[in-house]
């Protein structure tokens, strides 16, 4: 199996990685960059634990082939905070107690961020439908919905 080198921007930094055609995004992030915020869980794109943003769009990192990252801009949960300053969505997740074990949390936070970028003032149904592709076995769903509402207010400076 041949190895090829891809170049992409990872959390604002130009990087390269040697990959095989079968490697997915999650394993490259973990193996080459020690970024473990995107995690494998269901392995089928059903749970969202592996969510990363590629050119601004959320993808399932366990299904998305690393080869497709060549020339793209990749952002992971690790880039969301500005130094010590958490993003409004991260702050809201803490305030609302919107997680227990935390394994799915990066995926929910990235999806919630993308939701608020598209729709700064979602109602409860819009929040539920937008996040229905992410799973939380601790079932912190009521708190997650609350967190998104808090985050929406924070982003509007309220």
């Amino acid at each position: 199996m041949t190895t090829r080198t891809i170049s992409f921007t990872l959390n604002g930094e130009a990087v390269t990685a040697d990959i095989k055609s079968y490697h997915n995004v999650v394993e490259i992030l973990q193996r080459d960059f020690n970024l473990t915020g995107a995690r494998e869980s269901c392995g089928q794109g059903m749970c969202g634990c592996c969510t990363v943003l590629v050119d601004g769009t959320a993808v399932s990192g366990c299904l998305y082939l690393a080869a497709f990252l060549d020339g793209t801009e990749v952002r992971t949960i690790e880039s969301l905070a500005d130094g010590d300053k958490l993003s409004p969505v991260q702050e809201a997740f803490i305030e609302a107690g919107a997680f227990q074990c935390g394994y799915c949390t990066p995926g929910f936070i990235l999806m919630a961020t993308q939701l608020l970028d598209e729709n700064p003032d979602p109602d409860e149904d819009e929040i539920k439908h937008y996040l229905s592709g992410n799973l939380c076995r601790c079932a912190a769903y009521p708190e997650i919905i609350k967190a998104v509402k808090i985050a929406a207010r924070k982003r509007k400076g309220e």
């Binding site: 095989k20 079968y22 490697h23 394993e27 973990q30 193996r31 970024l35 473990t36 915020g37 995107a38 995690r39 494998e40 869980s41 269901c42 392995g43 089928q44 059903m46 749970c47 634990c49 992971t76 949960i77 690790e78 969301l80 905070a81 958490l86 991260q90 997740f93 803490i94 305030e95 107690g97 997680f99 227990q100 074990c101 935390g102 394994y103 799915c104 949390t105 990066p106 936070i109 929040i127 539920k128 439908h129 996040l131 229905s132 992410n134 799973l135 939380c136 076995r137 601790c138 079932a139 912190a140 769903y141 009521p142 708190e143 997650i144 919905i145």
Partner: protein, 768 residues
């Protein structure tokens, strides 16, 4: 002034009672929290498992040569290789019945048979698919009741482990699938049935479901001649250390188990799971080996017990229960895991939270040719409550009694003896029931819906005796600058234990909880704990942590006296150290050990005056709308009220109740492992649906009643499981109330509801 409370007294402005966010919250929202599944060690090999395709069969041959030849494969391992490094490779908490890799025969579809090791997990995976095995297939048994006739034996001989003090009476047996039978005999059941005005008998079943922790089970072992280090997603590092030390014949001080945060546990990451396999592989390969399951493989590893519960109740003409007979069959799968303890520890509460003079309980742990079953958030209690609370409504309905009044008439009250003979203490069960009734406005008639949509409501109550006897140990160290750090083996898998424990330390030391450090779990450093299971940690470890902090506080006071500080001086701790050692130097260590009193049940009749240190109590109510044309059920409202004593962290308690209730909602409405001739046919989250945000009922209320557990740390007791107990029967009772059909088997799928509706109208649906 009152004497100080012996177990810590919550006070206004104290650390206990704060709704502090989880102390690891920042690490979790920034993706920096550590878990085992993504963890890597330099030079490590990945293991991929080749699994049995036969439910029961003798292994005739294993052909590993195509896998061995694949470029990049380090080697293939079978049980022969394992036995060269671990001669007796059998493990299990109750029985030493489970081989690290199958030996001579396989006992379920999915059992590990061989392993491929490679640096690249993709190569290991591809190579594992090239292995083939030939089996002489044997007849298999899958049903827990059929297993009792012992026509097909899963194991020729049963080998008790002797680990637990209360299972010491188990002897090695041959010719049976019954791993354990628990009996309770109170009063004279036969005479009471003969004298009863009414007798009701029903049978209830539960299905096989999965923990589905989103972090799949994973372990890394790094064996060196000097010592073994295991990194594991484990709820019980101390037990893992003990079992691994036993398997490899080493003292425990050469076995180190390190546990980061867990991506969910729910009982699925207890006892040995992958640690023994990873250890054997690392001993063979002489380098670190990682075994990390896929979601699919979790379905073949540990599950929840399916059950059959035959329950029979006698009542006098006023509706007072006079006798109850319970026969419970637990489908433990091919290896006992903790099933025998489920059978006993939950079995003894099978007659429910009712005051009954004559009780007969038989509870059986059965081996079958299915993936093993163990603990899953409730330790058997949700299966029992499903039966006894559905049964309660069926009785009330038949006797035309209000379900609430029927429960009130028979409920087990404070100061009365439980079926075991243990006197009930600190049980706010009736308060919880009354609160549910109040929230549901039970006295007012419900709006019944119209047309095809019918509405109904139901309720249920339950209690659980926390598992006993178990031990916890903790250390609190105070550094020379006065800062404190806690070492305890309780694993934070999302329940918020680290946060609760530092609140207890902070309260004792009178410093903010956030200022207390927590040592990551590492058996070289963190002292013994029985395990993070059965809602025991807050009570048992909470006491150990309290005692450790109190000892540290008392040593600080002694140091103050020693360096000549007047009584009641406010000198900072750092100053005391400086005065004593002449510079910033020294450490104070406080240790706390907690093991509650307990009297094991008499094996002859199951009776004991002290079955448990505390009772968990729950009540729930549900309002549903049934579409009588499709059988689909909408849960309009779900109310859970628990007694957890005095909440150490009210906000986290509320999320525990809510999360537990929603998990049980999945087990109630749709989750089911579909099994065809022993093969799980829906082993993925694409085919096995777990609750999503869309399954949250539009109205959900979670409350803890005002309570104080008199022997609990700061009046608290555990709550991790309590929210699961009542959900299933409350919903089934509401469905019956809505449309007059009674389901006796979980899940309450639209198909099951529709079939029952059609059967009621004598228009039965044909089977596919």
């Amino acid at each position: 002034m009152d004497a100080p409370a012996p177990h810590g007294q919550p006070q206004a402005g104290g650390q206990v009672g704060r709704s502090l966010p989880r102390i690891e919250a920042r690490a979790k929202v920034t993706g920096r929290a550590e878990y085992t599944h993504p963890m890597r060690l330099p030079g490590m090999l990945h293991a991929k498992i080749f699994r049995s395709t036969a439910a029961h069969g003798r292994i005739i041959s294993i052909d590993a040569s195509p896998a061995q030849k694949m470029p990049g494969v380090h080697r293939v391992v079978t049980s022969e290789d394992v036995r060269r490094v671990i001669p007796e490779p059998y493990y299990g908490p109750a029985f030493h019945d489970q081989p690290i890799l199958a030996i001579d025969k396989v006992t379920y579809v999915g059992e590990p048979v061989a392993v491929v090791l490679a640096r690249d997990p993709h190569i290991a995976d591809a190579a594992a698919q090239l292995i083939s095995a030939e089996y002489e297939e044997l007849p298999a048994v899958f049903d827990e009741v059929e297993a009792t006739d012992n026509q097909i034996l899963v194991h020729e001989e049963l080998r008790p482990a002797g680990t637990f003090a209360d299972l010491k009476h188990l002897k090695g047996r041959r010719g049976t699938n019954v791993a354990l039978e628990f009996k309770l005999r109170r009063g004279d059941v036969d005479a009471a049935f003969a004298a009863a005005a009414h007798v009701f008998a029903h049978t209830f079943k539960t299905q096989k479901v999965l923990h589905a922790a989103l972090e799949p089970i994973a372990s890394i072992a790094d064996w060196k001649e000097s010592g073994l280090t295991i990194y594991s997603a484990s709820q019980g590092p101390s037990i893992v250390r003990t079992e691994i030390a036993r398997l490899i014949g080493w003292p425990e001080n050469r076995v180190r188990v390190k546990v980061p945060y867990l991506g969910g546990g729910f009982g699925g990451k207890l006892y040995i799971k992958l640690e023994a396999l990873a250890t054997a592989l690392s001993m063979i390969a002489r380098r670190p080996v990682k075994v990390a399951l896929s979601m699919e493989e979790q379905f073949y590893t540990i599950t929840k017990h399916p059950s059959t519960f035959r329950i029979k109740t006698g009542l006098d003409k006023t509706g007072r229960i006079t006798a109850r007979k319970c026969e419970v069959y637990w489908n433990g799968g091919a290896y006992a895991d903790i099933g025998p303890r489920v059978t006993q520890k939950s079995g003894f509460t099978a007659s429910g939270p009712y005051d009954i003079d004559n009780v007969w309980i038989d509870s059986y742990a059965l081996y079958t040719n299915l993936p093993p079953a163990g603990a899953l958030r409730g330790f058997g209690i949700p299966q029992l409550v499903w039966a006894y609370e559905s049964h309660a409504d069926m009785i009330a309905r038949a006797l035309k009694l209000d379900p609430l009044e029927f429960r009130r008439k028979n409920i087990l009250r404070e100061g009365r003896p439980h079926a075991t003979g243990t006197i009930m203490r600190d049980v706010k069960l009736e308060t919880a029931l009354d609160r549910v009734a109040e929230l549901l406005n039970w006295k007012q008639p419900l709006e019944r819906g119209r047309g095809l949509l019918r509405r109904g409501r139901g309720l249920a109550i339950a209690m659980k005796a926390v598992i006993s006897p178990t031990t916890s140990v903790a250390n609190v160290s105070i550094a020379a600058d006065g800062s404190a750090i806690l070492s305890c083996g309780t694993v934070d898998m999302g329940q918020g234990s680290d946060t609760a424990m530092v609140q207890i330390v902070g309260d004792v030391l009178n410093v903010p909880a956030e200022s207390i450090g927590v040592v990551p779990r590492d058996t070289d450093v963190t002292p013994y704990d029985m395990g993070t299971l059965g809602s025991r940690s807050l009570f048992h470890m909470g006491h150990a942590v309290r005692l450790a902090a109190e000892e540290a506080r008392d040593k600080v006071k002694a140091l103050a006296r020693e360096v000549g500080e007047p009584e009641g001086s406010n000198a900072p701790i750092s100053e005391l150290f400086k005065k004593k050692y002449g510079m910033q130097a020294g450490t104070i260590v406080g240790t706390g050990i907690y093991k509650p009193d307990y009297v094991p049940p008499d094996p002859a009749n199951g009776l004991t005056p002290n079955a448990t240190p505390f009772w968990m109590c729950a009540a729930a109510g549900a309002e549903v709308e049934v579409d009588t044309e499709t059988g689909s059920v909408r849960i309009l409202r779900l109310v859970n009220v628990v007694d957890c004593g005095n909440p150490v962290n009210p906000a986290i308690v509320a999320t525990q109740i809510s999360g537990a209730a929603l998990m049980q909602l999945g087990f109630t409405m749709f989750e089911k492992m579909q099994i065809d001739a022993g093969q799980v046919t829906n082993a993925s989250l694409a085919d096995y649906k777990i609750p999503s945000v869309l399954d949250v009922p539009p109205r959900m209320e979670n409350e803890a009643v005002t309570a104080h557990q008199s022997n609990g740390p700061f009046g608290a007791k555990g709550v991790g499981e309590t929210g699961t107990f009542c959900v299933s029967p409350a919903i089934a009772n509401a469905i019956d109330d809505a449309c007059g059909v009674r389901l006796t088997e979980l899940p309450l799928s639209p198909e099951a509801v529709l079939r029952a509706l059609r059967a009621k109208d004598n228009k039965e649906l044909e089977d596919q």
